[in-house]
Symmetry: D2
Subunit: 305 residues, 4 copies
């Protein structure tokens, strides 16, 4: 199979919101996809509705796969699936197998797992994604890949079935670090922009006009362009990325900061604001609702013109 | 004179780094320009090298001008020039005159001055600019105009000689508030981006690669695009806008926050970082040297690839 | 009159919550007290109920006083009372008169006023107080005095009638700076302590036990000792000092920071939290209600054992 | 042995700066002390110079001990000593044994270890200390004890040999949480106080006088009383507790905050400042050198009078 770069069988653990459409892209691209999920019926549904197979255990999945993808909520779960518990991937991993850890995980945990995989004769790369469920469905995710260049080369055909771009960030774990840090910068730009809108509105400026001026000037950032009018000033708060996932990403960014001993005061304050927003609005709130925390601190609500 | 909107004479107080090229644009556009500067010889040089005239006093300048532009370091100085001291603009201001306050000033002071001008039968608008000396020279400044719409309409021919766009922001003072808040958002995006680069570099990511990824993703902002590689990673620190001016803009933004009783924790922290950077690197340092404060806190220096 | 140090007549402007009992102490100590207040009937009531006289104007009050005390809400009002308006103190100030500015005011404004007083042949010292209304009543305020040592020496008999201690802090304005900075440190200790109680409570520790341990250990501060159990854990919030006055003190502390170009990130964040608390709970809330802002950010309420 | 509460043999793992004098107190109190250290010769030296015995392995130490104390740098090491590696305590732990974890550790790790100990038929309490080496030598440490009340009761005779007070804080892990949070509050009070001194000094106040006024007023805290004049204004910086240990304590406090999802913005900023101070001045610097970070941000050095 040309497009599969020599791999016919891809194991896929975690067919959730993101994993399901991603695995479906692989089926469509002609891979033999073996799925697993903590809820057995989800895996079965996938096979019925999309294709592939659902082996009885992680061990069996691993034994039948050249590549194993993990797309799971947290690094702790990835660690359990790969290495711990009665049934796990390492128990059946083929020599020369490639593990692609695509979850938004903790770089230092991923690095340790990569060492264990290497000791077992395989190779692990991390390849977290951005773009959300919509772009997971169309196979147009942006993928940040960290790890040995030759291994990434081999994985490209698999990754290309799910994403439209593969950015190489460096050693293993670097994709996850980059992803978390990107979200930190994005969140910082969002929050400082909202603070400015609030100060301006109380002064008498119109937040919609302000947004336009910021976008025409040096205050411009991704949030002023794509989120302020669309989700905040409209009061729609439906960007589609949850507060809980954002909070996880920021906690990873901050953890990298702590593990490397890097003081970053603004980042720390941004993180506390997200922790507070999550505790107040819940993990299922849209991440743009973090604007409401700024409003609460300022004592005003932003209003559209 | 068609392009002069009925005004033939424009007084211009403050022919400094910005004021000189701006006044020169007015001369070029056919206005009769009357200049004043605290250093008498600068005003004379302007007349010799560019044109116009240099009246002996502010009173005389005002008596001969339909429009008076102020382009001065601070609102305190604008206040002195307009209203205080032995010689001032109010002493000679014509009925129906328009004052265009183009300095990056304090909105609440400008509002009080506008009331005084109105009481004297004139009208004051604020019209701070962005774009720096290069765009002042080419007459392509971005101008944010606050004040009575009809007065701004009348001022447009004058403003258009100096700027390529006139954004209307609302009531008088709002141009200055908007400008300061824009710079606050810009600075916040810069600093959080540098913190992320520092965390990433200590983890093992390359800051240049990180900048590229941020620009391709949601971490993008004006600084990641136009300042990080150009002035920070290159260690050139020559963007051409000084720390002192940035510090003044942020202090104005924060003052608006205080005067409106708007809590804005991130903004306050950003401001402290700039106060610290200015105290360490001096007001004449390039504003991009604020990255060095983050480096100092993190204990590493960013390196280009 | 021995205890009056040679002064028989003391003018007192501002017989409000603090000023009334302070002026009453002066009456009791044998001074001839001349009171003034923006509400004429308040001054009259004072004369009826306590003693002294209420001249018709500030000018007349000044003409009859060796010492003039100001105890007013803000420096802006002090400035108006001393120097501006149709009727003011300077209009009647005697040569050699001493002005004692006892409000919690802005040091730089006070310094400018001191220069004006000196130019008019008098002397101004600042002498803000702490201790609140209860200690104002008993004449046991703590007074921080800034200004020329000889002038303070002369003022001591007057000050001693109102306070139990006079701490000399340095040049004029320094009393007010010291007072504001003391309240900043106090507020910082309060807020970080409450944050710790909140983290601990969510972990499973009892906030009352925590308070006891802090008090027995290095976490001890004035708030852990005198405010946490008493006003926060008891949910009484009735320490008797308002949020509005605290917010004013902190804004003065921060203004001194800005005017001296001193970066102080924690102080700035503490100030934003108080601005937010005031905007949420109102200026008349007890200052200990600032704990509720921390609770709101943390998403839990502190509970007594 | 009356004073030993029925226990004759106490194992002690980690005879370092703190552990050595603590174990020596136990020898003096009549316990049969069995020591272990990663550096074999240190354990041998202890036996030679102080007494007790040094079993060949952790397993043997556990087999011979009724109580095992851990006094180690980090929870990761405690976990290794108790449960992991080829040789460990669990391998030899007696039924009914009590483990007293006295390190400044991570509460959540300690809680997991306590569960494992319980599953093995023993009981674990945490009992971190404060007071430093001087009070370790005199057996006058302040001990914060978390865990089952009956187990703490049994441990009191052992604890009393090392400490002058045993504060009970609640369930297991709570001693460590309390200790870390206490140090957070202490550090916050230190830093805000230093910021105030810096603002004041630049205004013209004397930092020594300021310290005295704070101590006489509501700005008082443990640092203003016992550290500012003694170690900062004197420029001695020799309080005897290192930056590295403080940084560890704060990172634990912040980790408890994160694990409980408690937003605490001031705490986060305090922590970043310590991370920065440690990265600049090194883990072996005295913790009071954190004042130098504030000085660096403010751009001035504090000077004694
Ligand atoms: N949603 C988004 O927009 C984006 C998400 N991400 C990241 O992608 C990852 C996946 O996110 P998302 O798909 O939204 O999360 P979901 O929770 O929807 O999917 C995770 C899936 O993994 C399953 N799972 C959990 N534990 C195990 C286990 N031990 N063995 C096998 N399967 C298990 C879950 O089953 P169960 O439901 O039973 O727990 C679920 O089906 C996360 O790391 C997230 O941060 C990245 C970019 C965007
Ligand atoms: N209350 C407290 O616990 C403490 C207060 N302070 C400080 O002491 C000062 C006074 O506080 P407090 O007494 O509580 O405030 P109040 O508002 O109770 O008293 C101020 C008094 O001044 C009067 N006043 C206002 N403007 C003028 C004017 N132009 N001419 C004459 N009188 C005027 C007010 O009258 P009107 O009511 O008509 O405005 C009022 O009677 C403040 O600076 C405060 O920060 C210091 C320590 C503790
Ligand atoms: N020092 C102080 O003022 C205070 C310290 N604490 C806390 O007390 C604890 C101990 O601190 P301190 O005594 O200063 O630290 P030290 O580093 O001086 O002592 C730790 C001792 O444990 C030994 N050790 C390390 N790993 C192992 C292992 N795997 N097995 C056996 N022994 C091992 C070390 O040996 P080696 O040197 O070979 O690593 C060292 O002798 C820390 O948690 C600290 O935070 C609490 C209050 C005050």
């Amino acid at each position: 199979m040309a497009q599969s770069g020599g791999f016919s069988s891809v194991g896929f653990v975690g067919v959730g919101n993101m994993g399901w459409p991603m695995a479906a892209c692989l089926v469509k691209a002609g891979f033999n996809v073996l799925v697993n999920d903590s809820r057995r019926e989800v895996a079965n549904n996938f096979v019925q509705q999309v294709g592939g197979a659902a082996p009885d255990s992680l061990r069996q999945l691993a034994e039948a796969s050249d590549v194993v993808i993990t797309m799971l909520p947290t690094s702790t779960i990835v660690q359990r699936v790969l290495a711990e518990g009665d049934d796990n991937i390492f128990a059946g991993m083929k020599p020369g197998a490639i593990i692609i850890e695509m979850s938004s995980g903790v770089p230092s945990v991923t690095q340790r797992l990569a060492e264990q995989v290497a000791a077992l004769g395989g190779a692990l790369i991390d390849a977290p994604v951005s773009g959300g469920v919509p772009r997971a469905k169309t196979g147009e995710l942006a993928i940040m890949a960290g790890g040995d260049a030759a291994t990434i080369d081999k994985a490209v055909p698999v990754l290309s079935a799910m994403g439209s771009s593969v950015l190489r960030t460096g050693a293993v774990g670097s994709g996850q670090a980059m992803k978390a840090l990107n979200n930190l910068v994005s969140t910082g730009g969002f929050l400082i922009g909202i603070e400015a809108l609030l100060i301006g509105q109380r002064f008498g400026l119109d937040p919609g006009v302000m947004t336009d001026v910021l976008n025409a000037a040096t205050g411009m950032n991704n949030s002023t362009q794509k989120k302020f009018r669309q989700f905040v000033l409209s009061r729609k708060f439906n960007a589609g990325f949850t507060m809980g996932l954002l909070a996880k990403d920021l906690s990873i960014a901050l953890q990298v900061g702590r593990e490397t001993g890097t003081a970053a005061p603004l980042s720390a304050l941004v993180n506390e604001m997200i922790v507070s927003a999550q505790s107040r609005f819940g993990p299922d709130a849209d991440h743009t609702e973090m604007a409401k925390l700024c409003e609460l601190l300022a004592g005003s609500e932003l209003e559209a013109d």
